[in-house]
């Protein structure tokens, strides 16, 4: 109850100041080539109060990103605000000229974009790109001036600090500052271990270019130094930093370790998570009052996602920045934001306090979202065996299949599988996969879980015989696949089919859908033109796609539709095993849910076995019977799905479970 009171008080405080951003009846249109208007956003209204996190939730194409870009004045292509109003701090901004918008962006509104891979210019150093943000808003000049002024007044009584004119520690003065702090501690009688403890804390806290004068003084006072002495030290040694210090300070605030060195590196030398941290530093560089975070972590691994969002939360809280958080994951939204706005087909269909929306969804679409959100579903149990009808069918199929053919229980067995790669300019080999053993039971699903780089995709490629293992064996139906050649290999390929992560890349853009699905039949010389046509129709029906798509091309289909086509293609040859390498990771939650159900139903009907590679444990719970957890190429845990979720043994597995967004939310189950 007490937390509720605190929240209410906070909300009342935020509301008292009036909204920071007020969007009313916003209408955004795009113009097609033949001059028709497409209404991307229709009569949408929402507000963001100072310091508040507001989430806009919806599937792709729902207008959530478009609304956010309209606020920033960065609508792509032919997009145009055709009605309604956008007020920032009470000022109408929807009709502003581009030049006037330039002044608002950066200082009033910042952006953390979706895809860290494409949002940094590959030809400039990270530091340069942060500097651009400071320069564009005159913060660099202000910064140098302020530092010079502070230096001139060092030790003087005049306070330079006003509201946003902060004075930061400079890297040149840091050693002297630390010495002075040590002396001050000695003066009040703090020595030995306790002094070392304080000094260590100071060293961690006092980041050049980020920590301000008054916080240094505050730290010293908290350590027991007298107020006056603390301020004398702070004023004498915290005299402003150089621009490079400031850049490093911003990057380290965003959670980038060793920021001064990192600032001199190029984007391609950074991982996705590090790039996203750099983008957060850029978005917050000029201390905007509103930060628009457009799916800031959906391109990242779940564990990295959690770390980055935690950090962003901490940072915006301490700076008092309001955040407009755009996501397709309702669980994530509910966990992070105080207020949720649900958008569907360009309209706001529901909005309210997070838990309320989650527990009592009113609009049918919101109800579907709640049901489909993987992060929320993971709290319920939807494993194949326990799903009423399907489980029965599956079990029956099991028995029928095994009795008739008397085959072994395991369709694929992997033993002591190891794969080494040679790294450029390094002598020692890199072990991508290290002594991994497991088996896939006939008609069941085994999921391999791990972060990117854990070697799970390498295992998949070896099972598919697309990569040769350095050591160990993969057996299919009791036969070692390493010896497969010619006809035997073709036969193996026919029975073990892949579905890959990226439905955009795994279909040939020059092939019609019909040709894509028919191709495996043609290669394996199955049937004639007529029977193939019939089979393609059947397959399309199986994945619930209309026949009319046969003549269309991949670029005319959505991601989910393409993935269905990829599944239909994999099913064309009646395989026994399908290897799904992150087959649903790139899809929207609703589409993901549909595809998972499709896979489940196909398994029940056809007795398929799946090897399911994913980084998302939430998905695992929906589809897998057994789970193998991989870390750094090694198998660290292997158990049934329920066992892993109920009693994870390894810390790493626990971390992965913790990283599921919304995992700790209590749903009022109805």
């Amino acid at each position: 109850m007490e937390t509720n009171n605190v929240n209410e008080k906070l909300l009342a405080m935020q509301k008292a100041q009036g909204p920071l951003l007020e969007v009313k009846d916003l209408k955004v249109d795009f113009t097609t080539d033949d001059k028709r208007a497409v209404h991307a956003v229709r009569d949408s209204s929402f507000s963001v109060y100072p310091g508040q996190w507001v989430a806009i939730v919806g599937e792709s194409g729902s207008g959530k990103s478009t609304s956010a870009m309209a606020v920033l004045g960065l609508l792509p292509g032919t997009g145009k605000v055709v009605g309604g109003s956008i007020k920032l701090d009470g000022q109408e901004i929807s009709g502003l000229k581009p030049k006037e918008f330039d002044k608002l962006r950066g200082t009033k509104m910042g952006l953390v974009p979706q895809d860290p891979m494409s949002n940094l210019n590959p030809v400039y150093r990270i530091g340069t790109q942060v500097k651009e943000a400071l320069k564009a808003n005159g913060m660099d000049v202000a910064h140098e001036k302020r530092s010079a002024l502070a230096k001139a007044l060092a030790g003087d009584e005049v306070a330079v600090k006003t509201n946003d004119d902060e004075t930061f520690i400079g890297s040149a003065e840091l050693p002297a500052l630390l010495d002075a702090a040590k002396d001050a501690l000695a003066k009040i009688g703090v020595t030995g271990d306790r002094a070392d403890e304080f000094m260590k804390a100071f060293k961690d806290e006092w980041v050049p270019g980020s920590e301000t004068r008054w916080r240094v003084a505050d730290d010293l006072i908290k350590a027991g130094v007298k107020d006056d002495d603390a301020w004398v030290i702070a004023k004498k040694y915290v005299t402003g930093s150089t621009l490079n210090d400031r850049i490093a300070g911003l990057l380290s605030e965003a959670g980038l370790p060793d920021a001064a060195t990192r600032a001199r590196q190029y984007p391609h030398e950074f991982s996705g998570g590090m790039r996203q941290r750099a983008l957060i530093a850029i978005g917050l560089a000029c201390r905007p009052e509103l930060l628009i975070a457009d799916e800031p972590t959906s391109a990242l691994d779940v564990t990295v996602q959690k770390k980055i969002l935690d950090h962003l939360h901490y940072l915006t809280d301490s700076l008092g920045t309001a955040v407009l958080f755009i996501t397709h994951d309702l669980g994530l939204a509910a966990e992070r934001a105080q207020h949720i706005v649900v958008m569907y087909k360009g309209q706001v269909v529901e909005s309210g306090p997070s838990l309320e929306v989650l527990q009592h969804p009113q609009h049918p679409y919101t109800k579907r979202l709640v049901a489909a959100a993987p992060s929320l579903a993971s709290q319920r149990i939807i494993s194949a065996h326990q799903r009423g009808e399907n489980a029965d069918a599956l079990l029956e199929h099991h028995i029928v299949g095994e009795d008739k053919l008397e085959k072994s229980e395991n369709i694929i067995t992997v033993e002591h599988l190891t794969k080494e790669f040679k790294l450029p300019r390094k002598k020692e080999m890199f072990k991508a996969v290290d002594d991994v053993s497991f088996s896939v039971k006939r008609g069941s699903t085994l999921a391999i879980v791990g972060e990117s780089g854990s070697g799970k995709s390498t295992v998949a490629n070896m099972v598919l015989k697309l990569l040769e293992p350095t050591a160990g064996t993969v057996t299919y139906e009791g036969k070692d696949i390493s010896g497969f050649k010619g006809k035997e290999l073709l036969d193996f390929r026919r029975h073990v089919q892949p579905v890959f992560q990226n439905p955009y890349g795994s279909l040939d853009p020059m092939y019609s859908i019909y040709r894509s699905i028919e191709e495996p039949l043609r290669i394996h010389k199955i049937g004639d033109t007529k029977s193939r046509q019939k089979r393609v129709r059947e397959l399309l029906d199986m994945v619930e796609m209309p026949e009319s798509v046969m003549t269309r091309y991949p670029n005319e289909l959505s991601g989910g539709q393409r993935q269905r086509i990829a599944i239909a293609r994999a099913m064309a040859l009646n395989p026994d095993v399908i290897v799904c390498d992150e087959a649903v990771s790139a899809l929207d939650v609703l589409v993901q849910d549909q595809v998972l159900h499709l896979l489940n139903d196909l398994q029940a009907e056809q007795g398929l076995s799946y090897l399911f590679i994913t980084h998302d444990l939430a998905v695992v719970r929906q589809i897998a019977d057994e789970v193998v957890v991989m870390q750094h190429g090694k198998l660290v845990e292997h158990a049934t799905t329920d066992e892993v979720f109920a009693h994870p043994k390894m810390q790493y597995t626990k971390d992965l479970l913790d990283a599921i967004p919304g995992g700790k939310l209590q749903l009022g189950l109805d």
């Binding site: 608002l104 030809v123 651009e132 564009a136 808003n137 450029p424």
Partner: protein, 308 residues
Amino acid sequence: MGKYLLRRILQMIPVVLGATLLVYALVFALPGDPVKAMFGDKPVNEAVAAQIRAEYNLDKPFIIQYLLFLKNALTLDFGNTFAGQPVIDEIARAFPVTIRLGIMAFCFEAIFGIIFGIISGLNKGKWYDTVILLISLLLISVPTFVTGFAGQYFLGVEWSIIPVTAGSDPGFFDLLFPAMVLGSVSMAYIIRLARSEISSNIAEDYVRTARAKGMSNGSVMVRHVLRNSLIPVVTYLGQDLGALMGGAMISEQIFNIHGVGFLTYQSILKGEGNLVVSIVTLLLLIFVICNLLVDLLYAALDPRIRYA
């Protein structure tokens, strides 16, 4: 980096050897006897002919001729022409002209190609974008000798705006139109390259990020759109520099410019093996070195590219 450079330079050796052998063989296989041709309409004096053949090693088998040429070339002695001039002198006379022509053509295609490319790329779909595209398509599809002859006839002969021919010691204005003809096709390619690069880069996410930082439109264009778009343009230009020298043959022939192309053509007609091979080797070296420089420039412009 040093290792990479050394490897690239060592790679040039087989390229040069192979190319010279090939060109030497082609000249050797040319129909007709160059020595007999020297006598013109007069009867051939067999004794004199034999003496000339011996002097120029023409009496020896092909491979010996080639090796002798190589041996001399290593000491920078490229032999004499049939007229008795040292080959090196002929080349020294012709090269400056072609270099002047090539540099003028290069500047023409670089400046106008980039300017029109930028105009087109930033204004995709406007009427002048369409006009620029049509002109560039025309320049690409019409062979240079057609553009050259047509320009020479109309601008030179009919309207007397430009000199009809350049002659042996051409000045800036004599070479202006031939240089434009020489650079026209590449200019058209550069326009199209710059246009497509700019129009695709403008839609890049990092450009939007730059705008979100609050940068003005001008600096976003210069720092993010143009900077990134010019990388492939600059590499194309670098490779073209080498190709221009060799490609000058047609313009030089049309406008009677006594440069390398003109000299090569004449010496092929006369069967001057030493001269042809020497010129081709030199052009080849220029081409290979330009390529190497382009690769190094590419690494300097794009930090993602590193050679080891």
